[in-house]
């Protein structure tokens, strides 16, 4: 077992592609369904607030992480990519239900203002099972704890968010309910309001991203400091 970023690669980076490359071979669908089973039976469970969340950001088919690794992070959803491929292929209702439950949890998390988090913002981590924004033992909602042996994620880097957003889209496609796009829309509006207009052309270059994260381009901002709009503010 290791961090989900890496343990998820052998299935998350391959099976979905194999379903495409071997479109006429049911073997890949069968194998990809196992990811769905793991999500349902092992990797996720209901937290204290009865929301389904990933139990850890350390995952394997037989183990999940404990202690400071017990966080539902965006990267946890790299491992579920094969199940997404199955859903895209045949609309499996079990996967649809699982994803809807997971996204319901994340929508509730996004709307939470615990710890001063601005309403609407999707945190990078939620601890399991007690739903602490920012993760287990995190000092605040946007900073994770980083004891040795953990791979936890701070919100500022926005790393691997796409994996979570993918299942937001699945939940929306299944239900047609706009609430599943709401956190994404509100985050967009929040970014625009503060002058950070997302580039529709594509992701920024690494150098540009680095500039953004250090907010050096923002007038008045100190290099390396947290940009103002990232700070919890009561009027957000």
């Amino acid at each position: 077992m290791a961090d989900a970023e890496h343990t998820a690669e052998p299935i998350g980076n391959t099976l979905g592609m194999m379903m495409q490359l071997g479109y006429d071979n049911p073997t890949w669908i069968e194998r990809s369904m196992k990811a769905g089973k793991l999500i349902r039976d092992f990797w996720t469970h209901y937290n204290d607030q009865n929301h389904r969340h990933s139990r850890s950001n350390f995952l394997s088919p037989t183990q999940v992480g404990a202690h400071d690794r017990m966080n539902d992070s965006w990267i946890s959803y790299r491992a579920v990519s094969p199940a997404t491929a199955v859903f895209n292929y045949n609309g499996n209702p079990t996967i649809a239900k699982l994803y809807t439950e997971i996204v319901n949890g994340w929508v509730a998390t996004a709307m939470s203002t615990d710890g001063g988090k601005p309403k609407r913002v999707i945190p990078a981590q939620v601890s399991f099972p007690d739903s602490a924004l920012g993760g287990t033992n995190s000092p605040n909602w946007y900073t994770a704890s980083h004891p040795p042996g953990t791979v936890n994620y701070d919100w500022l880097r926005q790393q691997y968010k796409g994996y979570l957003l993918d299942i937001f889209f699945v939940a929306y496609n299944v239900t047609g309910d706009a609430k599943y796009l709401e956190p994404i829309r509100l985050e967009y509006e929040l970014a625009v309001k503060h002058g950070y207009i997302p580039d529709p052309v594509g992701p920024l270059k690494r150098s540009q991203r680095r500039g953004l994260s250090r907010s050096t381009h923002r007038p008045g901002a100190k290099s390396g400091s947290l940009p103002n709009w990232h700070r919890p503010r009561s009027n957000l």
Partner: protein, 328 residues
């Protein structure tokens, strides 16, 4: 991707690695400078050598490693997300000696630049994954003589109905010639609702010599139960004079909605005395109205081929462990 293993929080970027490669090429062995784990040098290993130069991304980046992502995106207009590294276009029968850039691909059409070094004239398949099944499209492709991304000499223009996902669009290409391929939507396809989908593959087609029994395993890969489907076995390719062996009927294959695979194995009594090409077809009379795909309805395998069907005992776990130990 792109991080060192647990315990270190240093990210090694491609540019940093490139800088090391150019600056320190003569100063330190490749294995050392590429290994962010500070392990002992390992000697010549595939992952430390171009083109599969994965070590700068950490040894656990198995698939989406640096060096492969950009070509994949250029050739296929792939993207991150969904099933990771989704390709909007894939290719068939190209050989590995070709270059392609997919500049746009969506349900309304696509545009591809294509160049091959494979000798002679060949028919290749472009598999457009974004096109709408049942939609009508116009294909225009031709030679870009001016190297400006525009078709100067049209090789072929034709309209077609895109039958189903996974279907290739075939074009003929000459070696060492710039081609531009354009597909535009003329009429939208139909939304595909829930559909059944029985499927099989060649690897699930076998022969039991003790019972003279060619068998095929039929899966249900949809979320609808499948009732009363026919499975036909042929000795030889059906449309090339293959002899029908028998037709079997499967009364029911439940749906795999609980995420447990659902399959049924059927067989026919047919003695094989020599290697024989056996074809298996699902729904040979085309009685199922709509399926997710019909591409998985036919499989072919040469049974009784030497070694292919010979049953070998699976290695015991202890043996596997010893093997791994020696390797590691």
């Amino acid at each position: 991707m792109g991080r060192c293993p647990i315990g270190t929080d240093r990210e090694v970027t491609y540019s940093q690695t490139e800088a090391r490669r150019t600056k320190g090429a003569s100063e330190e062995p490749l294995e050392q400078r590429a290994d962010c784990r500070k392990q002992k040098p390992r000697g010549r290993h595939l992952r430390t050598h171009w083109p599969i130069s994965t070590s700068e991304a950490g040894p656990t980046d198995h698939v989406g490693f640096i060096g492969i992502i950009d070509p994949l995106f250029i050739y296929t207009r792939g993207s991150w997300g969904r099933p990771l590294l989704t390709a909007t276009v894939t290719y068939e029968n190209t050989t590995e000696d070709f270059a392609a850039a997919t500049v746009t691909a969506d349900p309304q059409g696509l545009r591809i630049y294509y160049y091959t070094l494979a000798p002679g004239r060949r028919t290749i398949g472009i598999v457009p994954w974004e096109l709408e099944a049942g939609g009508t499209y116009r294909l225009v492709y031709g030679i870009d003589a001016g190297d400006d991304g525009k078709i100067d000499i049209i090789t072929e223009q034709r309209d077609f109905v895109f039958p189903q996902h996974g279907s290739p669009v075939q074009i003929d290409v000459e070696s060492r010639t710039n081609y531009v391929v354009e597909i535009d939507q003329l009429q939208r396809g139909e939304l595909i609702g829930p559909a059944p989908d029985p499927g099989l593959s060649a690897q699930d087609t076998r022969y039991n010599p003790a019972r003279n029994l060619p068998t095929a395993r039929i899966y249900n890969v949809s979320f609808q139960p499948i009732r009363n489907i026919k499975i036909a076995f042929y000795d030889g390719f059906p449309s090339a004079g293959g002899k029908p062996i028998a037709v079997q009927q499967i009364p029911n294959i439940e749906n795999p909605n609980d995420l447990e695979p659902r399959m049924v194995t059927v067989g026919v009594n047919y003695r094989l005395d020599q290697p024989t090409d056996i074809y298996v077809a699902i729904d040979p009379d085309d009685e199922i109205n709509s399926e997710i795909t019909a591409l998985n309805n036919v499989a072919h395998k040469r049974l009784m081929d030497s070694g292919v069907n010979a049953k070998q005992p699976a290695p015991k776990p202890a043996k596997l462990l010893r093997k791994r130990g020696r390797r590691g």
